[in-house]
């Protein structure tokens, strides 16, 4: 048994190293003694028949339509995997493309794939900074956000409640959206490395679907020490008191 992790459109949708979340899943699986591989997919024909997780990162606004058109050719597979409980992590504009759509300030809009509820809407100015999110399933998430749009329609099933940052905006106090194991978030870059509990939760879902057990490997303990230090530094920067248990 080998975990197959798909990194979707890494050519255009990887401005901030979001695609490396696939590497994080792959490495942690290996450290736990589970064989894993990452498959880079730019076209529908490259999709493996059987997969265990998908990572779709953020790109520039200029490539939104091009990426959406490519994703459309994989629409049926993505919808089916989402329904079957395969973890799909959409980040930044990658998440927005999985939503109902993206509205621009000039009134034009880009239709999304409709796999996640809600839509991206213009906000006043770009938000760049630390974001801290309390979630029920994945613990406290620490990361960076950098986006020029808010997100509405996630109120019934957000990823979590903001402790710092702007998140979905519009004074919602919320960040991200979750539908089963399909997750959208503004937390960009290697969010799974910085938040090992989040990574392990996804790996447990992947393992469960395969009827095997997942327990983090020995190597993970050392590496998660680095993550804890990075989280602590960022929490201090975000003005949040560091709770050693969190």
């Amino acid at each position: 048994m080998t975990f197959t992790i798909v990194s979707l459109l890494p050519g255009t949708q990887n401005t901030n190293g979001d695609a490396q979340n696939a590497t994080v899943l792959e490495r942690r699986a290996e450290w736990a003694g589970i064989a894993a591989r990452t498959v880079l997919v730019e076209r529908a024909a490259e999709l493996p028949a059987e997969i265990d997780a998908i990572v779709l990162g953020s790109g520039s606004d200029a490539s939104l339509v091009r990426s959406r058109d490519t994703l459309r050719t994989m629409h049926d597979e993505l919808r089916r995997w989402g329904t079957e409980g395969v973890p799909i992590l959409g980040i930044g504009t990658g998440w927005e493309l999985l939503s109902w759509g993206i509205e621009h300030r000039d009134g034009s809009a880009i239709e999304g794939l409709g796999i996640l509820p809600g839509r991206a809407v213009p906000r006043d100015g770009r938000v760049t900074g630390d974001a801290v999110v309390a979630t029920a399933r994945f613990g406290q998430l620490v990361g960076f956000e950098n986006h020029a749009r808010d997100y509405v329609g996630a109120e019934a099933s957000p990823l979590g409640r903001l402790r710092a940052g702007e998140g979905n905006g519009r004074a919602s106090g919320q960040e991200g959206v979750v539908m089963g194991s399909v997750i959208g978030t503004h937390l960009h870059g290697p969010v799974l490395a910085k938040n090992p509990a989040f990574a392990d939760a996804l790996l447990r879902i992947m393992a469960e679907r395969r009827g095997i057990a997942y327990e983090p490997g020995e190597r993970a303990a050392t590496v998660d020490g680095y993550a804890a230090a990075a989280r602590a530094a960022q929490l201090r920067a975000a003005g949040i008191e560091v709770d050693p248990a969190a």
Partner: protein, 418 residues
């Protein structure tokens, strides 16, 4: 004469700053002159007898600038140029003051300036350039620029100041789109690599978007072959073998950029032989940094400024280098954009340091790099690293971001490099 009083003040401040901190040319004199004589910078930059040449782009601009200066000097052209650390307006004014006489006049036939793509658009407002050379568009410092479109937009504003010619990298799709919008009467010159060179680049060229087609040799200067630290430039059907300051395709591209720009500046006076002779005699560099003698041993400094230079410089560190110190400082607010870089060839890092040490350690570990120690105190990390026995092979290597480089130099008592 109109700037004489301001220049006098600026020069006195500069002398005072030097007395207080030997070796430390600061941006303060420039700041003061910019405040009391705001037109000085614009007027002086526009006033060189054979004009102003500006080199900008996300990466490669300092090497290209140095190469261009060497080629022009080989043609007996006297040059004013700025140290690469002085490419924002105060620093630039300070650099001009270094050379200026008491009336503010700066000697030189041509000014060749390396311009930061962010500040350049601002500095260049109202300044007339003859030739603008653009190296590439990469997503540099996400916090500042957000995305490639914004970088491309800023480069377009710098390019718009060119009165005579724009020289650009034909392999960069963003710059090619920019070429279509150059004002009528302004020539566009191109440089680029051959299909064979691109095919041999293990990670491509590092541009945000690489052009679909390679440059036709009839339309510009083509890097035909690269072999270690030498290359062959194809110009007008003639092959010109040249030496490079270090191994690597990006140095060959910088050489082609400098060659094409020099030809645009010199016109009929340009000699290809003089150009490649000048390129071949540029002293070798190690990585993007330099080899330094500290505490009786050689140490390589490798500066990481953006993801593309990070990848190129990591690739340039010989595999099997035993002792590496890796430091990321507070200048990198969010290291996320370094994650696409593959650092696995480092294999093992002795010490990870800097205020972002934990973030750096995470990034290296997931690339499969072993880490012996994390030491957030950079001073202690440096002392211990240098005190460790010499490696059996290779040279101790310090990889750092700009902030960690400054702290390293300060800690070791080294003066600022150009």
């Amino acid at each position: 004469m109109r700037y004489a009083p301001a220049i006098a003040v600026g020069k006195l401040v500069r002398i005072a700053a030097r007395l207080r901190k030997p070796g430390g040319g600061s941006a303060i004199p420039g700041l003061i002159v910019n405040r009391i004589a705001p037109g000085y910078l614009k007027r002086t930059l526009s006033g060189f007898p054979q004009g102003l040449v500006v080199v900008s782009g996300s990466s490669g601009k300092s090497t290209t600038t140095k190469m261009l200066v060497a080629i022009l000097r080989a043609h007996d052209v006297s040059i004013f140029t700025n140290p690469s650390t002085a490419n924002i307006s105060q620093g630039l004014t300070s650099a001009l003051l270094e050379q200026a006489d008491w009336r503010g006049r700066v000697p030189g036939d041509v000014a060749v300036l390396e311009m930061d793509e962010g500040h350049g658009a601002l500095v260049m407002q109202g300044v007339d350039a003859r030739v603008v050379a653009l190296t590439n568009v990469m997503v540099d410092q996400i916090d500042r620029f957000h995305d490639s479109e914004m970088v491309a937009g800023m480069l377009a504003r710098i390019a718009a100041r060119a009165g005579e010619a724009v020289v650009l990298n034909a392999d960069d799709a963003y710059l090619e789109r920019l070429a279509a919008r150059v004002a009528p009467g302004v020539a566009v010159h191109r440089f680029g690599v051959s299909a064979a060179v691109l095919a041999a680049a293990p990670r491509g060229l590092g541009n945000t978007e690489t052009s679909e087609r390679r440059l036709d040799p009839a339309d510009g200067v083509v890097v035909e072959r690269v072999d270690g630290a030498s290359a062959v430039l194809l110009d007008d059907g003639v092959e010109h073998p040249t030496g490079l300051p270090a191994r690597g395709i990006h140095y060959a591209v910088d050489a082609a950029a400098a060659y094409a720009t020099a030809r645009a500046v010199l016109g009929e006076r340009f000699s290809a032989d003089a150009a490649v002779a000048a390129l071949s005699s540029i002293p070798p560099v190690f990585g993007r940094g330099e080899r330094v003698r500290i505490r009786d041993q050689d140490v390589d400094f490798v500066l990481v400024q953006n993801p593309a230079s990070y990848q190129l410089n990591i690739d340039a560190i010989p595999v099997g280098t035993e002792q590496i110190l890796f430091a990321i400082g507070s200048d990198v607010r969010d290291p996320s954009y370094f994650w696409p870089v593959d650092a696995s060839s480092l294999d093992r890092v002795s010490i990870v340091s800097g205020s972002k040490a934990a973030e750096a350690a995470l990034m290296l570990t997931y690339d499969g790099v072993e880490i012996d120690r994390i030491e957030t105190d950079l001073g202690r990390a440096l002392d211990d690293f240098l005190a460790a026995p010499a490696p059996a092979r290779g040279v101790k290597t310090i990889v750092f971001t700009a902030d960690s480089m400054r702290r390293t130099r300060a800690h070791l008592g080294l003066t600022e490099a150009e």
